[in-house]
């Protein structure tokens, strides 16, 4: 099998995206749209066909040297191994389905070419992150997904709110990118290369303090892209974009790039105990934070956005607990069910005639039973219903945290368990508010196009059956993903079967408890006044206000000071003063030019006298 075919995986979407960007609006709509779907589908197919290359040590192929300057060598090099192959397959498959869905969703948009070009470009950038064997190439993809995310959030840019949301996402993730950039430069100065394989292989020789600092820098970069505390404020606002964008970028793929980065560099990251603990703490804190926020949200997509943040927090917790396989497992199942939930939410909004507020919905089960069942499948996975994909993957993470058996990790495990309860609660709140009972408002929805509903079916099956990917030995499974990842899988938690059953029982009880509480509270829901706590959660713990008070306003004040105080007063003042001084001096000097002959003659005579006097003095006093 020709290994250089691997390059087609990212280049196919790039080519289709470029074609759409250049000629999209001149081509017939059907051609343009098929190009977009075909690009993603081609990648998925290729990844599937080339799968055997990933076994063993994986395959590395080099296309050409991108940058060459002194010792800096940046080859365009792909690494198709046991970690990148499943990730690439997930990205390309999910994006194919989302492209299909987008065909129906964007049916009435005039500038669909821009949308599909950016969507394909995003897939290219994401696959570059996943497959790259060079950190600089990875950074290229990293920035590429950031740009596509910015452009797609602001797709309906004629509304200032959307454009601002795009800008916010771009700027906040940029803060994280700075950390990543510093980490890359540091790694280069340490190793003289940016090759991921080399960095991972040689990481052991570094002193502990350097490793910890590097891990924290990488964590900072991952936090920005994955919307973890404290760089999480952009994700809820990112929901201003079209729903396929939310599903693809802000749920299934891009936000997991941070987790993937940490997994990719796990051999380096795992050498630092402190770094791992920091990753786990950030993950658990974000999981809890986002789950509480999701409890109070009123816009359907914002609930899902916060739940994404919370689930990505779980993945961070898994990496922090040293289990890459648990993180990747949850990443994969989460991608399936969260893409499903987002696209189903898009259908819901479509059915509700553009209404976003779940307090105004209700009774949608009667309108589209199929949609209800699909949404239910996603909700069961998210809430962790027993035997669904989300149940196994989330439990794997909690098990990994529990098996660490240190006070810190036990606390984090506790937070994780509590968050699991909150997850079930907000998921079923969403489900009951949207689908149960009678409509609370007269909604004039549109019929759902077929391309919007059918891509959800494979996702629902993948989500529900996702547990089979890594079925624990307890249920007769073989932990396939864990063994497939092999040396890359990280630690495997060693616990007794009894304990494992106990944890499963606890998870099931929490799921049931959350679902029952939600049923009791929200089955016959009447919108009422919202209390202070609810408003606090609704505003995401007022994180935006906090950022504004701590960073934006001081920054604006400093900027104002430098504008008015330094630039206007100091620099302009000095220059204006100099100019005024010279002008005044010139005015005074001007009066010397009287234009009278006698004055000039007198001056000449005095000048002569002075000269002669000078020579006389020189003669008299040698």
């Amino acid at each position: 099998m020709n290994a250089s075919l691997l390059f087609l995986i990212p280049l196919l979407p790039l080519a289709c995206g470029a074609a759409n960007a250049l000629f999209g609006l001149r081509l017939p709509r059907a051609v343009s749209v098929s190009l977009a779907v075909g690009g993603a589908a081609g990648s998925a197919l290729l990844t599937f066909v080339l799968w055997p290359l990933a076994t063993g040590e994986g395959t590395t192929v080099t296309l050409y040297t991108w940058l060459e300057s002194g010792t800096l060598q940046v080859p365009v090099e792909l690494l198709f191994d046991r970690l990148s192959a499943p990730m690439a397959l997930m990205v390309s498959c999910v994006s194919t389905l989302i492209h299909l869905y987008a065909v129906g969703y964007m049916k009435d948009e005039a500038d669909y070419a821009r949308f599909f070009a950016l969507l394909n470009l995003f897939v290219f950038a994401m696959l570059t992150i996943v497959l790259s064997d060079n950190l600089l190439l990875l950074f290229l993809g990293w920035e590429g997904v950031g740009f596509c995310s910015y452009a797609l959030i602001g797709y309906w840019y004629s509304e200032t709110k959307n454009a601002n949301a795009g800008r916010k996402a771009f700027l906040v993730t940029r803060v994280g990118d700075v950390f990543l950039g510093v980490a890359l430069l540091w790694l280069f100065s340490l190793f003289g290369t940016l090759s991921i394989s080399t960095v991972n292989a040689q990481a052991g020789v570094l002193p502990a303090a350097t490793l910890t600092a590097l891990t924290l820098l990488l964590l900072g970069g991952a936090c920005g892209k994955s919307a973890q505390l404290p760089l999480m404020t952009w994700l809820p606002d990112a929901m201003a974009g079209p729903t396929p964008v939310s599903a693809l970028i802000h749920a299934a793929t891009m936000v997991t790039a941070g987790v993937y980065l940490l997994c990719r560099l796990f051999p380096l990251v795992s050498l630092s105990e402190t770094g791992l603990a920091a990753i786990a703490v950030v993950g658990a804190a974000t999981a809890l934070y986002a789950a509480t926020c999701a409890l109070a949200q009123r816009e359907i997509k914002r609930v899902l956005a916060y739940s994404t943040m919370s689930q990505v927090g779980y993945m961070f917790l898994a990496v922090g607990a040293g289990s890459v396989s648990a993180a990747m497992f949850h990443l994969l199942t989460h991608a399936f069910f969260k893409a499903l939930l987002f696209m189903a939410a898009g259908c819901v909004i479509h059915l509700a005639g553009g209404e976003n507020d779940i307090h105004a919905m209700g009774g949608l089960k009667k309108r589209s039973p199929l949609l209800f069942w699909l949404f239910l499948a996603g909700a069961l996975c998210l809430a962790g219903a027993p035997l669904s994909g989300g149940f196994f993957s989330k439990d794997g993470i909690l098990l990994a945290a529990f098996a660490q058996r240190t006070p810190l990790y036990s606390l984090l495990w506790g937070i994780g368990v509590f968050t699991a309860f909150l997850t079930a609660l907000y998921t079923f709140r969403l489900l009951y508010l949207v689908f149960a009972g009678e409509p609370r408002k007269d909604l004039h929805g549109h019929a759902l196009p077929k391309t919007m509903i059918w891509p959800l079916v494979p996702l629902a099956l993948l989500g529900l059956g996702g547990g089979l990917l890594n079925l624990p030995g307890l249920l007769g499974g073989s932990s396939w993903l864990h063994h497939f990842l092999g040396p890359l899988a990280g630690e495997s938690p060693e616990v007794s079967h009894g304990l494992e059953w106990g944890l499963w029982g606890l998870a099931t009880a929490l799921f049931a408890g959350g679902a029952l509480v939600a049923r009791a509270r929200y089955r016959r829901f009447k919108p009422g006044r919202e209390g202070a706590v609810r408003r606090f959660f609704l505003g995401g713990w007022q994180a935006d206000a906090l950022v504004a008070a701590l960073i934006l306003r001081p920054f604006a004040a400093v900027a104002y000071f430098f504008w008015k105080g330094t630039d206007d007063a100091l620099i302009n003042g000095v220059l204006d003063g100099l100019a005024r001084g010279f002008q005044g001096a010139g005015e005074r000097l001007r009066t010397l030019t009287t234009g009278r002959l006698s004055n000039y003659l007198m001056a000449m005579a005095w000048g002569t006298v002075i000269f002669l006097g000078w020579f006389l003095l020189r003669t008299l006093i040698p």
Binding site: T593, T594, G595, R596, L597, S598, L601, A605
Partner: protein, 101 residues
């Protein structure tokens, strides 16, 4: 030499200073020109004296040049004075301050 060189120098210096005083003190253009003439003649006297002192002819030749130049200068200046007096009706130097800054 019959007249000592010191006397010649003292006399020509006095003549020069008187010419200069005339140039500086008077406001009438014709009087200023006369002052300039006196100063030039003072210089000419020095040159003749020096020529006699060193028994060299150069000084006297130079005085011939000086006279030619002076006559040319007077011709031009007086023509300009006549022109100015016709055009502006005055020959007082301070009335011509068109170059005032």
């Amino acid at each position: 030499m019959i007249v000592p060189m010191g006397h010649i120098l003292a006399f020509s210096a006095a003549l020069f200073l008187m010419g200069l005083a005339c140039v500086l003190a008077r406001r009438n253009l014709i009087m200023i020109l006369i002052g300039v003439e006196i100063m030039l003649n003072a210089v000419g006297l020095t040159l003749v004296g020096a020529s006699a002192l060193w028994q060299a002819i150069d000084g006297q030749i130079f005085v011939i040049f000086l006279m030619a130049m002076t006559s040319a200068e007077v011709a031009i200046s007086l023509a300009m004075v006549v022109y100015l007096s016709r055009r502006r009706g005055t020959i007082t130097a301070n009335d011509f301050d068109g170059m005032k800054g």
